[in-house]
């Protein structure tokens, strides 16, 4: 029987952490782009579009990530798309992230005084120009801290993808546990690794928030 030393366990978990980081980055970047599109539709002066995006956000915020993951994993094959745990994880986390970020950013857009919209409208700027030159630059400033804070949720969300067989830190932890019978040590290390990934993000979100409040 193979013997696992502490360093074997740790190095294997660290190797798996690459995939947690990569998946988080993909979900955050793609989710950010998709979230921006959702946001633009959500605050566009077009009732049906607003309603549709409201439902989209509500759907993703009102259902478990695990169920979203299962549905993507089982639905994509129905429409003829070959799914691997990788694609299912990336697609569902991207959708999940887009809904949450759109809602966070909507709050930031709402925080821009209404007079700014009216002033830019009176200058005959189109919706696109209003967003591009007047509203988004101001909203962006207050959007940074909560966005960084949400990235913690994305990193933690990747743990759920272990359930459909994507090998990231949690799945690696389960596999190592099955080989070493040391769940206390292994899951303890898994938790600490997540903490090492998430805590700096939490701290910087807090620092950014403080900086913003001082600047005001």
């Amino acid at each position: 029987m193979l013997n696992f030393t502490f360093w074997d366990i740790l190095s294997n978990l660290l190797l798996a952490a690459r995939w947690t980081v990569l998946l988080s980055a993909i979900a955050f970047v793609c989710g950010g782009v998709a979230g921006l599109l959702v946001l633009l539709a959500r605050v566009a002066p077009l009732r049906p579009l607003q309603g549709a995006m409201k439902i989209y956000i509500e759907l993703f915020q009102g259902t478990p990530l695990l169920m979203q993951l299962f549905i993507v994993f089982f639905v994509l094959p129905l429409v003829g798309v070959e799914t691997s745990p990788w694609t299912a994880a990336a697609v569902s986390l991207t959708l999940f992230t887009s809904a949450y970020l759109a809602e966070i950013w909507r709050g930031c857009v709402d925080a821009v005084p209404k007079g700014q919209w009216e002033a830019s409208a009176s200058l005959a700027l189109s919706y696109g120009e209003q967003m591009r030159y007047v509203v988004l630059p101001q909203a962006l400033r207050i959007a940074v801290p909560p966005t960084v804070g949400f990235s913690v949720q994305v990193v933690k969300g990747t743990a759920v993808t272990s359930i459909i067989g994507f090998v990231e830190i949690t799945k690696a932890g389960t596999m190592i546990t099955n080989a070493t019978f040391q769940p206390f040590l292994v899951y303890g290390l898994v938790g600490l690794l997540y903490f090492a990934l998430c805590y700096p993000l939490s701290l910087s979100a807090k620092a950014l928030e403080r900086k913003l409040n001082v600047a005001r």
Partner: protein
């Protein structure tokens, strides 16, 4: 070849789904009560004068908020038995939910406490109230009323997060869905229905908690 949807095949398994929903609701309600209880205690501890206590509670909050619920659950269910603490599935799930919600609730309630005007505390002290009396009768009510919407959202997040408890074989809604799809080979239909049920639970719980908040904190909100 088009896929033919067959939701009717789910009807035979309705009792399984009902059992799953009941378990999810039960875990959530008990977890919410205990978790908010821990949150109130934690928030009181974080604003106490006792520095080591403040640091300990702060560490607990940060540790829980920066690790995934699934890992906390695995640690409790698989890891704790090596310390001699062996919990049945549902107890492990409940404990994980309580610990998880407790940390978030601590942070949320603390924000409400911080928003209490200082003059009110001083007014209470000038009436000869003790520290605990001031906390209980002056600070807590308005603070809870202020942060109730945030607390509601967090309770719903915990309910949705409880879906991963199926991984330690707690027979809640996701477990029911997994069980049914392993029998009737209709994963899409099953997960679609389970997801819709979660959505309904989330909407219903939000409504219920909003009513409850109105009831409990109406006076505090008016004040």
């Amino acid at each position: 070849m088009a896929y033919r949807f067959d939701f009717a095949s789910l009807l035979d398994y309705a009792p399984v789904l009902v059992h799953g929903v009941a378990t999810t609701v039960g875990l959530t309600l008990v977890g919410a009560v205990l978790g908010v209880g821990i949150g109130i205690g934690g928030a009181a501890a974080r604003s106490s004068a006792n520095a080591p206590l403040r640091v300990a509670v702060g560490a607990y909050v940060e540790l829980i908020r920066n690790t995934p619920f699934l890992v906390q659950l695995f640690f409790i269910f698989f890891g704790l038995p090596s310390l001699g603490v062996r919990l049945p599935e549902w107890q492990a799930a409940l404990l994980a939910m309580v610990i998880n919600l407790g940390a978030y609730a601590t942070e949320i309630i603390r924000a409400g406490i911080d928003a209490t005007p200082k003059g009110q505390v001083e007014a209470g002290a000038s009436l000869g109230m003790s520290g605990p009396q001031i906390f209980r009768y002056i600070i807590l009510g308005p603070a809870m009323g202020k942060i109730w919407p945030a607390l509601t959202s967090q309770i719903i997040i915990v309910m949705l997060g409880s879906s991963v408890c199926s991984q330690i074989a707690v027979e809640e809604l996701s477990f029911a869905a997994n069980f049914i799809q392993s029998r009737n080979f209709r994963p899409f239909e099953v997960y679609f229905v389970a997801t819709a049920l979660y959505l309904a639970l989330a909407v219903g719980l939000r409504w219920l908690l909003a009513r409850l908040g109105d009831r409990l904190f109406a006076r505090a909100a008016r004040a």
